[in-house]
Symmetry: D2
Subunit: 172 residues, 4 copies
């Protein structure tokens, strides 16, 4: 199974700047994460699209991400998009607007705590996205925190620090 | 979604005996693993059935595991079974023999390297099993190393150190 | 051997605020660090003095830290002070000004990368301070990055991201 | 400061054999450990002498280790020896028999739990040995678990799972 993995930045990929003492999107740590997983089900095709905190994304960025995902869904068996959680739902809904039901599943994921932190949720979420993309029907989803939610209707639940779909419903 | 999580031991749960310098099944580390994951999709019901290296399992052990899984599948939305990889396929096939297609999905998982090792695959595999059980149709599966394979026909591929299904095919 | 361990905050103790996405001094993670070490040489007496980024310390803060360290050095066999690196040398020199050579060794330490990061130097530095305090003569030191440097004359070498003593010399 | 680092194997360097499910001395993980530490105080000269569980060491092995350590102590500012804990004291006493007080400090260390385990004490002990060798007077020592004990008279306290010196006394 051939899967395109689009990286756009976000908390999941933030690294620590020792001099300034802050976490920022500077280099992609996605390859380190991938190397720490055993991936027997898929062949990953990496697409480094941008490396931005999603709060800094412009409308053009969201459209670029959505277009790229939809195009790659036509030539792959699935697409995983690593994205900042704050505006993940904006990009997810943009895909639905532009492409409706894509030819293969498009699964967004991200993290609440960077991979660089020992308490990160990055590896769990990436693992879930890479498995979900093999199991769900064509459509646009977010996979994170042991849940797969299908767009449209997905929101970031800031209070509970995860994604939710008021009115519910997993993919499958 | 209510999921029963049956622990039976195996490499995934082996801990280190400092005095004798060996890895053994003594206490279950499954609760520590669960606490390190963010589980928003499921409510886990823990069933500690046994704590054995699967090479030490008797035919009665395999039957007990298969019966327990099938029974819990009737009262839950899914069942995850943590199992030693050497005889995992024996228990998986026993479920199919005894129960055919269970009322909800039964997903086996395990690990090639104990959770106690820094290079463990235990968290990846547990994450995959806990997500797959939400996404697949009723049936008996193994989820590990980014693959979901449906019984019957699943074997441990010792050479490649993972599971395989000669003649192939993921669940969904 | 009875050792007083004064915590003042700094990078070593910074934790991640998930909502705001920043690393800050909010709770002390020193007890978690201590629990992960095997300490057979010393009996630790914890003194939680403040929890500040050292860039936010006032002259009064530095004096309070120096006074507390000097007083505890009279009633213990040694004192370890966990401190932000940016102003660590200010507090170190303040001890020398106020107390000259204290009755037992006072060893400062800190970290360039918070304990919460998987690439942290916090455990190494804490380990070094807790050992150095048993081995050096009464005096004021910083122990970090495999070096023990004696005050006065110690500076933070921002370029090399560690401490240095131009004109040199370890304790002993 | 130039330090020779002799590796001989032991629990600290054991790695996991996935096929057989056991921990063994096969490759040296010392370089990985060294790379994870910030070493500003010393320049390390690696000497890979053997890679054995110390329970498998012959009298000739102990003599070879002792001779090598004593010789390197003449050409370096200090020597660290990584050694299995079961027979560490045999090699330590052999150095004292053969070389008395060496020209520079010789510090033995090891681990109760392999580096490969997430609960390892290997990094703490290596950190302590690499610092102690800079701070103690010429002599033969073991540095582990926040203690530095001088030979002769050091024993492994199996009950407490650490080293002890009945009748006491740290180096310095």
């Amino acid at each position: 199974m051939r899967v395109a993995l689009i990286s756009t930045g976000g908390t999941i990929e933030k690294t620590y700047d020792e001099l300034r003492g802050v976490l920022e999107n500077q280099v992609s740590v996605l390859d380190i994460m991938l190397a720490s997983l055993e991936l027997r089900g898929i062949e990953v095709h990496r697409v480094a699209l941008m490396n931005k905190d999603s709060l800094d994304m412009s409308p053009e960025d969201h459209t670029l991400i959505a277009r790229s995902a939809a195009q790659l869904a036509a030539t792959h068996d699935g697409v995983v998009v690593v994205h900042g959680t704050d505006r993940l739902a904006v990009s997810g809904h943009r895909v639905v607007e532009l492409a409706g039901t894509p030819p293969s599943p498009i699964v967004f994921t991200g993290a609440m705590r960077p991979y660089e932190l020992r308490s990160t949720d990055a590896l769990q979420n990436l693992t879930e996205a890479l498995l979900a993309v093999q199991l769900v029907k064509p459509g646009v989803y977010v996979a994170m925190h042991n849940q797969v939610l299908q767009f449209p209707g997905v929101i970031k639940d800031v209070q509970r620090r995860t994604f939710a779909k008021p009115g519910g419903g997993a993919g499958g």
